[in-house]
Amino acid sequence: MPGRTAKEAVENFAGFMNETLSCLTNRRLSAYQKADNTYVLLYKEAVPLRTDTGAPFYIQVTQVCNAVPLEDGTFKARTREYSYVFSESPGLDHHGLVSYHWHPNDFNLRDPHLHLRITPQVGCPEIEHKLSKAHFPTSRVCLEDFVSLLLKYYDIKSPLHHSTHRSILKKNKEAFSKNATWTVNPLP
């Protein structure tokens, strides 16, 4: 959703992200302007979640964006970097159970990727070690897919009715698909 100003575009963008995240939690992202036209949307602390059976988990969401002017004089927010982490603990001492990263300006691997960790009781410690070290290549991953993954496959309990969160995720993923300037491969 464009905004009349860069800041309004970022606020609108954050509104969509908060709506998507409302399928998991009532906590809301905060925003920080870290440069003239660079903003961070984040949870200041890891956010606790519960599964249907009450098991505790956490998410940490951080997204960097800026605003670009459109031809009609309004502004649109664009994602520059992201980190979506799902973990069994609130700390930052590992990549969590599932984490999607895209950090094109830092570190040795800059394409979008996925980190996965499984429990070490598989019986194949060498495989477990390889899995925990791997950066699985991905396309650009939208927040809606991350949230859907947690609801569908990790049994996270939504504070919203099933039909409500399905509707939100469908609507916002469609908006992402419509507005994203790239999804599969970063341009060379």
Partner: protein
Amino acid sequence: MPATKKKIQWITQGEMESLVDKRARAVLKVSGKTFIRNRKRGDYVKLDADKCPGIVELALLSPGDKVATSRARKNS
């Protein structure tokens, strides 16, 4: 009220400095100021983030508008 209409909470510079300092101490065992200085110097450019979990999330909070490569600028 739809989520998209709710006001977002903006973090002050002081709050962010405090957050970066807290995370830098947890992840790298250095102060936030030291982390930022090292990052500007390029100390972490080729770091294997696997050897330092949490540094990705820390780097995203760092001040500046770093879009360092032409590739990065195109990938919006």
